[in-house]
């Protein structure tokens, strides 16, 4: 199976771990990702906040290029996905010719987690898995942008998405129900209003622990950053000592598939999961084993 791949800017930077795990897992599953050549930024929150036209035309450039390639496009960053889908809708309804790009809707745009949870790929994951990740009690945290608003994302389960739930169950993770799957983490407010993010994320930690989770599993690199980078500071602020590794679902697929590099991917996080993995018997306890550092 071959698709066009739009990684988005942060996967070249702060979400390098996510990018590596996606590439590794897709290779192992026989999914060929062809990166969209010379793709450009989708405009993200900045464009739709202060320049509506640019917020359509930036993703539109990528849509037009992807359509010329003729294959469906898979997008790991939920914000990019959302902006690309928004542009798709705007261009398909653009009868007045308001925007410079054109898009006929001949290709589909897919959120990575939804793409990986389709029955055919889920079957591949289940069949290639070498071990079950017993001992991990996860809450799946989807964030906002892959789901909302449904008139843009075309999501049918926008209040209760289940793509990651299905994937994690297939590899032996115990998935805990909770009501905060699509609650906002504050996203780019981490830059100018970090105080807001601390409050919002602190509540998510509490709710995850209340649900009985020992880790949070995400498909969004903004959620990952907000939950992972400031855990020490938020602990201090809230007068608690949180230890909640924040893992990409692709990293866990990699571990289940027995991909050796998976330990390096998770090692790029701030909250290292080695202690958790060790305590539930998921790692090699031999002395000198890097995973126990």
């Amino acid at each position: 199976m071959k698709v066009t791949y739009y990684p988005g800017c942060s996967l070249e930077g702060s979400a390098r771990d996510y990018a590596l795990s996606i590439e590794g897992v897709c290779r192992a599953l026989g999914l060929e990702l062809e990166e969209l050549e010379d793709w450009s930024c989708c405009g993200a929150t900045a464009a739709h906040s202060i320049n509506h036209r640019v917020s359509v035309e930036l993703p539109a450039r990528n849509l037009a290029m992807a359509e010329a390639k003729g294959m469906d496009m898979v997008v790991p960053c939920p914000l990019c996905f959302n902006r690309l889908k928004g542009a798709e809708k705007a261009l398909l309804q653009d009868e007045a010719g308001e925007y410079s790009a054109s898009f006929q809707g001949r290709i589909g745009i897919h959120d990575l987690a939804n793409f990986m949870a389709q029955p055919e790929i889920l079957k591949r994951i289940t069949e290639s898995a070498k071990r079950r990740l017993k001992g991990l009690n996860a809450v799946c945290y989807y964030g906002c942008m892959a789901s909302r608003p449904p008139r843009v994302t075309d999501s049918r389960e926008y209040e209760n998405p289940t793509s990651m739930d299905r994937i994690l169950k297939a590899i032996g993770v115990e998935v805990k129900p909770w009501s905060y799957k699509t609650e906002c983490c504050g996203a780019s407010h981490a830059v100018a209003r970090r105080d807001m993010v601390y409050k919002m994320v602190g509540r998510l930690y509490d709710k995850a622990l209340e649900a009985g989770a020992n880790c949070v599993v995400v498909s969004c690199q903004m959620c990952q950053a907000n939950l992972d980078l400031y855990q020490d500071q938020i602990s201090e602020e809230m007068g608690k000592s949180y230890y909640l590794p924040v893992l990409y679902f692709t990293e866990l697929i990699g571990m289940a598939l027995g991909i050796k590099q998976a330990r390096d991917w998770v090692g790029k996080h701030f909250v290292r999961p080695y202690h958790l993995f060790g305590s539930v018997g998921l790692v090699d306890r031999r002395p000198g084993s890097r995973i126990m550092e």
Partner: protein, 188 residues
């Protein structure tokens, strides 16, 4: 008794917003579902349902000068749950753009500076380089001076160093080849 001046509704502003944004503000019947589901209402000066109501009442200055439109994180919960299909988050965007266009001195100037630094970085390379964008934001927002004064800059330096160490911050960010195409889009 204090004199209470009645608010006289003036629908011209609402009609202008509806026409410009394509969002049917007049459909709101104040059920407050938007505000009840809003994850950032704790940081707002007026609530989302009030923003919509004030637009209906023609209270232009109040909404354009509010913190709320900048504090909204665009999580889209309100727009998703509105029973009348009022795109509340889209309205916040429309009002932000209007406030910028009119040169209003916005109360959340750092958030505005972030959006501007972000767009400038896209204009420069066609893609975002997070390190470059953050430095530009620090200068543009003036936050750098506060952080230098308070010593909080240490936290940011440590964060950047830790990201670098983990291979999560490219030292030399690449740009795209078709920078001109992207610049043309941004410059209009």
């Amino acid at each position: 008794m204090q004199d209470v001046k009645p608010m006289v509704p003036d629908t011209r502003f609402m009609r202008a917003v509806e026409e410009g944004s394509g969002i049917k503000i007049s459909a709101c019947f104040q059920c407050k579902k938007c505000t009840n589901g809003c994850p950032t209402s704790f940081a707002m000066d007026i609530y989302p349902d009030q923003v919509i109501r004030l637009v209906q009442m023609g209270q232009r200055e109040k909404v354009l000068n509010s913190s709320t439109i900048w504090v909204c994180s665009s999580c889209q919960t309100c727009s998703t749950r509105c029973p009348n299909e009022v795109d509340i988050a889209g309205t916040m965007d429309y009002l932000k753009e209007m406030a910028v266009r009119e040169g209003i001195s916005v109360p959340q100037s750092r958030t505005k500076a972030f959006h501007e630094a972000f767009l400038e970085d896209i204009r420069r390379r066609g893609r975002i380089s997070e390190g470059g964008m953050m430095s530009m934001y620090m200068l543009k927002s003036g936050e750098i001076w506060d952080k230098l004064r308070s010593g909080d800059i240490k936290e940011d330096v440590v964060l950047a160093f830790e990201m670098l160490k983990r291979g999560r911050m490219p030292v030399l960010p690449k740009g795209i080849r078709a920078k001109d195409e992207v610049r043309k889009i941004i410059d209009g």
